[in-house]
């Protein structure tokens, strides 16, 4: 079982530090996990004493780390240097951990392959012809290839869990608000959370316990259970022993390999003593349309800040300020980002709001209520993460529309605000398959409980390219 112990002190001893840097530098050209890899930045000052002293970790390039770039995978932020550090990152640094680099991602988190990055392609450590998933593909690939024991990502509709499943590692999307979003560049503010990619359940738990907690600098961040104003039917999940697991049933449209692994996973959980029974999520077919309506609407507002005036990409020449803004945005954003901004602008236009955005927000309430109902019957929910395993780069893979439809399983947790953990469940045809567990809000401990037990029976496997002596 992969633990942090072999990584502690790695960067404080010059000898192990050099062999670590050598390991990453010889592997990185094949994997392409990092937009920027520079462990020296974090080692300039002496490290604080703490449980993570000298442990390297990576940060998705959508979270601010002072002294590092912050591109969000976009040309429009090329050359931007972060003036401050995100709260989640700062908490890990205070425990002695060291940011070694910023990981590749789909532009502004918009994608499921990391192929929409302006900067480079990230390859799956299990099969270099395949994608690592997205949008936190660089973070997942860095962990799966043994370059770091864990990496931070962001999950707006599955962006931590899906790449984790594609790369055979763990991916946690915490309860909305439990981890501060301060320093996380906004995509869709009511759905965004800071998430964790990690090599084991234990590491995921340790990192989560360090980065969680209310932050004065994020007004949407939450106290733990019992805070005022939080929906009363939630928040009763923590600190119990999981007995009943409901698996999402029905015709889910899974690839045969994923389907086989899904059934096997249910069997393993049964053999571990859980009561495993089918459940139906009555709103399942609406998750992705509701999600994309809300996410694009919020994105169109959040991305209005990129004007090329105060920071970021500026065109060669513009006649006047208005042309400057139009050119900066048109040349600085990629195709997928433009599509989502257009959709979001459209659904928010006067005359269309009721039909789209308002309607989506009201259906979101129905989705939350449906989860309330299901969590009366079962303690946690088992569901697919994605209908396919890691697909190939380029036209042989899924087209952008198919990728969006395929987000139907992951978007639920973001819409309902509940925690979800993607865990590795063995291989099918040589590639990893992952499934996710979902719990009521603040129920992260329930997810770890089941995943820990499952890993005793089906331990996570190392990718062929991972020859790291520390992982």
């Amino acid at each position: 079982m992969s633990s942090l112990s072999s990584w502690i002190g790695l960067l404080t001893d010059p000898k192990t530090r050099d062999s670590y840097i050598h390991y990453v530098e010889q592997l990185e050209p094949q994997i392409g996990a990092f937009i920027q890899f520079d462990p020296r930045i974090g080692l300039k000052e002496s490290l604080p004493e703490g449980p993570f002293k000298g442990v390297p970790f990576a940060v998705k390039d959508i979270l601010a780390v002072k002294g590092f770039g912050l591109t969000c995978g976009s040309r429009i932020l090329e050359g931007f240097v972060s003036p401050y550090t995100a709260t989640a990152v700062e908490k890990l640094q205070r425990a002695g951990a060291v940011v070694v680099g910023k990981t590749n991602m789909d532009e502004f988190g918009m994608g499921s392959s990391t192929d929409t990055s302006f900067y480079k392609q990230t390859c799956n450590p299990w099969d270099l012809e395949r994608v690592a998933g997205g949008s936190s593909g660089g973070s997942a690939a860095a962990v799966a290839s043994g370059m770091v024991p864990f990496a931070l990502g962001s999950d707006t509709g599955g962006s931590v869990r899906q790449p984790a499943a594609f790369c055979g590692i763990y991916g946690l999307k915490p309860t909305y608000g439990v981890v501060s979003r301060y320093g996380l560049v906004a995509y869709a503010s009511s759905l965004d959370v800071v998430g964790i990619c990690a090599a084991s359940v234990e590491i995921t738990e340790e990192v989560f316990s360090l980065i969680r907690g209310k932050d004065e600098r994020d007004q949407t961040s939450l106290e733990e259970t019992g805070a005022s104003g939080i929906d009363g039917s939630y928040g009763k999940g923590a600190n119990k022993i999981v007995q009943r697991i409901g698996f999402v049933s029905g015709n889910l449209g899974l690839d045969p390999g994923v389907e086989r692994a899904y059934r096997k996973t249910q069997e393993v959980l049964r053999s571990l003593g859980y009561e495993v029974r089918p459940i139906e999520l009555s709103m399942l077919e609406y998750y992705a349309p509701v999600y994309y309506t809300i996410a694009t609407a919020e994105a169109s507002a959040n991305l209005a800040r990129y004007t090329g005036i105060r920071y970021g990409y500026r065109p060669e020449y513009a006649e006047n300020p208005e042309e400057l803004v139009r050119k900066a945005r048109s040349e600085g954003f990629g195709e997928e980002v433009k599509l989502r901004i257009l959709l979001g602008t459209y659904v928010l236009r006067s005359g269309f709001q009721d039909q789209y955005y308002q309607r989506a927000q009201r259906i979101r309430t129905a989705i939350r209520k449906d989860f309330d109902r299901v969590f009366q019957e079962v303690d946690v929910i088992l569901s697919p993460v994605f209908p396919t395993q890691a697909f190939k780069h380029g036209s042989e893979g899924l087209d952008p529309f198919q990728q969006k439809v395929a987000d139907r399983f992951t978007t639920a947790a973001n819409l309902a605000g509940i925690p979800a953990l993607s865990f590795p469940a063995g291989l099918e045809e040589g590639l990893p398959v992952g499934f996710q567990l979902m719990a009521p809000v603040f129920g992260e401990e329930l997810l770890f409980q089941v995943a820990r037990k499952f890993a005793e029976e089906v331990p996570p496997l190392k990718a062929p390219s991972n020859t790291s002596p520390w992982s």
Partner: protein, 92 residues
């Protein structure tokens, strides 16, 4: 979506769209809007909108100033500066 609607939307979003990519983009937008129309099947009567997944009251804090010391690091990110001013094209 009518082509004209897409042009209005693009103008609102400050995006210039290249003519040759227009058609492809129009199809992609159309496909997504079609997909969104699935939401019309749901009876939303009596459902209030969700804005924050968990918190249902407005949260306020005192209006306090916290100075950010390293203002140079902010200016260094500007594409073009003169002294401590950001340069943009002429307005008039």
């Amino acid at each position: 979506m009518e082509l004209q609607e897409l042009r209005i939307t693009a103008a609102l979003a400050y995006l210039d769209l290249e003519e040759e990519k227009f058609e492809k983009l129009q199809l992609a937008v159309e496909q997504m809007l079609q997909y969104f129309s699935k939401m019309m099947e749901v009876d939303i009567e009596g459902l209030s909108p969700t804005t924050h997944a968990l918190v249902h009251e407005n949260r306020t804090r005192p209006d306090q100033v916290f100075p950010f010391e390293d203002t140079d690091s902010l200016l260094e990110n500007a594409p073009e500066t003169e002294d401590r001013f950001i340069v943009i094209p002429n307005i008039l």
